[in-house]
């Protein structure tokens, strides 16, 4: 969504930088741009050398050779460079004021969309790593967590609502295993205290929601017959559980162990839920055929394990094994540090398993887009899709390449040659500058407990 105020803000910000001046005479913040001569990695239609890409009004309008820019549309020469679709991170917690409502094992009623923080500098850092869209998720403290929100990294927007990706599919966080057991069973002495309890929480939640639906049906039936009846107590949690059961909200489930992954697929079958995406799924390689048979998808770490017992039995070949068993697989960061080089995280699947270049790029583009239900908008370079593109100095899967320009909706949000030191959107009127120096060091990571 274009916001003229954003453009004004960025201009104001830049003009404040007494030691960095905007040297380009052109404005790459209008949503229109012609990128010429780059090597396009379309992901869905093969690679195209020395090809032009025209973005108009935030959408990819044309791909071809010798394109001309319409009047007023700036041109960016990308000769020798590589252009890929903006990277999609299917598991992230950046840009949020809160992550875990950890006070109940079931909290699907809460919504991450309510707590978006557009001022988080990590959004800018992510852009510097070529990530244009992230799945801002609830944490893994609860068996059934809150509703997530897919966001676009329109850094510079001053309203949380400006980051929300319009019409992105609704998703909800589930979490199995040690985290909810530790938080609730051990922490509060409530269910769940074992993996058995985790399953029970889900089944009981669904059963109670179905009974709640019957109570309301009865109320409305009476109403239609003109009978006045006391209404059941409205329950936001059960309303959302019903939406999950009806397939209106897609489950993204934090899980590690093969047994619990298998368990949840069985629960889904029992309740008629047909779609599910597992997150982390370190032992996915053990149940890859079963995942594929169900149609379940997986979003994994490249090579992160052994930080607790349930991730003890893992392998860096997990990504490849899943992909080669026809499970739609993505690689995610779940970290404000790793999101900055997610392209290298994906590249590890070439070292461990030798996925092809395109298969590897799919892990961070079209596959996570499918998992988030936004593949009609992003994830590949195709006409009609959003103008989310990243221009790399070399092939993105090379250790020597870095992102140079990042566009979201055809607006240049990151330019490595004009990268001011202070990109904060909001500062403290009583700021002690020593704290600014700490921020520069890049510390800080609040995430979903992993």
């Amino acid at each position: 969504m274009k916001n003229p105020t954003t453009a004004i803000l960025l201009t104001t910000l830049v003009s404040l930088m007494s030691f960095q001046f905007l040297t380009a005479q052109v404005d790459f913040r209008s949503g229109d741009v012609l990128i010429t001569g780059g090597n396009l990695l379309t992901v869905t239609n093969g690679d195209m050398e020395e090809t032009d890409l025209l973005i108009l009004d935030g959408k990819i309008a044309e791909i071809g050779t010798s394109l001309t820019a319409p009047d007023g549309v700036p041109t960016l020469d990308a000769t020798g460079k590589y252009i890929m679709p903006g990277i999609v991170d299917a598991h992230s917690h950046i840009g949020l004021d809160a992550v875990n409502e950890a006070t109940n094992p079931m909290t699907p009623e809460v919504a991450i969309a309510d707590v978006i923080n557009p001022f988080d500098i990590a959004l800018y850092h992510a852009l510097a790593g070529g990530v244009t869209v992230s799945h801002a998720m609830h944490g893994s403290a609860n068996v059934i967590g809150g509703q997530n929100q897919t966001i676009k990294h329109r850094y510079g927007a001053m309203l949380p609502s400006d980051l929300i990706m319009e019409d992105a599919r609704r998703t909800v966080k589930f979490a199995l295993g040690e985290n909810p057991i530790r938080v609730h069973g051990e922490g509060y002495n409530t269910v769940p205290n074992t993996r058995m309890g985790v399953e029970t929480v889900i089944r009981q939640g669904f059963d109670n929601a179905l009974a709640y639906r019957e109570a309301w049906k009865e109320f409305y039936r009476k109403k239609e017959e003109g009978i006045v009846a006391a209404p059941p107590r409205y329950n936001q949690r059960k309303e959302v559980l019903l939406e999950i059961l009806d397939g209106d909200i897609l489950i993204h489930c934090h899980s590690y162990r093969a047994d619990e992954i298998y368990m949840l697929m069985n629960v889904c079958r029992d309740y008629g839920i047909e779609e599910i995406i597992f997150q982390h799924v370190n032992e996915g390689f053990k149940v890859a055929p079963e995942l594929a048979e169900f149609g379940a998808m997986a979003s994994v770490f490249s090579d992160w394990w052994a930080f607790k017992f349930e991730v003890y039995y893992s392998t860096a070949y997990n990504t490849t094994i899943l992909a080669q068993n026809d499970v739609i697989t993505s690689v995610n960061s779940d970290s404000r540090a790793l999101i900055r080089h997610l392209y290298l995280e994906a590249a590890k699947a070439q070292r461990y398993g030798q996925l092809s270049d395109n298969q590897t790029l799919e892990l961070i583009t079209i596959n996570p887009a499918i998992q988030l239900g936004i593949d009609d908008r992003v994830g590949s370079l195709e006409t009609g899709k959003d103008g989310d593109v990243v221009i790399f100095s070399g092939h993105p899967l090379s250790i020597y390449s870095i992102p140079e320009y990042t566009f979201v909706d055809g607006i240049m949000y990151f330019n490595r040659s004009e990268d001011p030191s202070d990109m904060r959107l909001v500062t403290d009127p009583e700021e002690e500058f020593e704290s600014y120096m700490k921020l520069k060091s890049g510390r800080g990571d609040h995430d979903c407990l992993h």
């Binding site: 916001n3 105020t5 404040l16 930088m17 007494s18 030691f19 004021d97 809160a98 875990n100 409502e101 950890a102 006070t103 109940n104 094992p105 079931m106 909290t107 009623e109 809460v110 919504a111 991450i112 309510d114 707590v115 978006i116 923080n117 609830h138 809150g146 927007a157 001053m158 309203l159 949380p160 609502s161 400006d162 509060y188 002495n189 409530t190 006045v228 009846a229 006391a230 209404p231 107590r233 409205y234 329950n235 936001q236 949690r237 030191s421 202070d422 904060r424 909001v426 500062t427 403290d428 009127p429 009583e430 700021e431 500058f433 020593e434 600014y436 120096m437």
Partner: protein
Amino acid sequence: MLLPGLMVSQITGDEIPKAASDFLLSNIQIKTQPGDELIRADVHIVDGVIAEIGEDIQVKRGAKVIEGDELILYAAFISALSHLGQPEEEDDARRSAWRGPPGATPLEQSGLTPHMFASTDYDPGESDLKKYHQQGFGLVHSVPRGFVMPGKGSLYLLTDPADGKVNTLLKRETGLFAQFRNMRRVYPATPLATMSVWREVITDVRYQKDYWEKWNENPKGLSRPSVTELDKALFPVVSGEQPVFFHTGETRQALRAMNLANELNFKVVLANAGRLNDDFLAGLHQGIKILPNLDFPDKPDEEKEEEKGESEAEEREQDEESEEDPEEEKDELPAGMDKEEYEHLKERRKLAWEEQIMLSKKAHEQEALGGFSTLSVGSGDILSAVRLLHEKGMSEDELLEALTTLPAELFGMEGTIGKVKEGYQAHLVLFDGPFTGEDAKPTFLIVDGHLHDLRENDD
């Protein structure tokens, strides 16, 4: 020797002579309301009402006469939001009494107490009361302390507590005070769940209210409604009779409150607002009022330097000062930071400070200013904050509106308080000059027929 009758009346208080309730402010400069020119006239106050404003008013013997001289008469100022008179919060207030599973916390024990009133424990201390008086305030909207829904606000006259608090209560229920402030270890613990609790509670209360009304109309054959005191307290909120004074310190909170109000169809006032950015103000929904917070951050050094530079432009470069400044800067430069970066950061800090200061003016321009909140500003720092706004461009009339007519309108009392006009209640303050003057002081305050002589209290 005391007569028996008089002894009895000394016990009951019926015959204790009242303070004079007949005043004549003679030949005084009057600011009848913001926007009006000052007029000079007599003002006759009888039993707490402005009985007459005119020339050469004759009054009965015994009426207290105050010579106008150079004094200026204004309507007494109104604080649109405050915790004045509310008991201090216990140190462990955030710890709920509930010891069971956090997810099963009863709403009342998780900070939802809309059925509590500010008037229940209202007891302003003498010290705070004096400070408010000495800054020209005669009325206060007091709201209870607490968490998600602390309770209903009450509008009070700032009279001496010894006179009895019942008579000083103008309005018992102004609206619901709400916050994004959570107790520990109970649901809701974060703004995430606060938002969904609002959705659930308001939606549920609408259904319950509907049934409650039907049952009251004709209970025959119907099971008794299960409405609680908590539910009933929210009836006037869902019906739109009472607004929610939502404490929203900055843009994200304000947006959350505004979204809730829009989704759930209730009226909201953005209370104690600190920094609201321009994008938010541009998208502010029609009719929403803002009560800016007067608890301004300290003036940054760069602002002080600028003022110093301006005021001493004619006395440039006294040796001491020109030597001081570079030394100061050298001392302040944090490790690893160069001068250019330092100047840039100072500039940003100044802009951040200005953003908060300018909120009142911007809100006024959009006709969204509802009054001033004194919720978090120190009781003795209110008028100096108002004067800073004057320094930064708000006119005396605009400030007077925020202190009188706008809050009067907010509380639905624009026909009785907030102006110096015949028929209005006599809550008045006399300043020894325009109230925006740095050294101006209130000399007298009249509230509810009581005269407070502030001159002897001058510290």
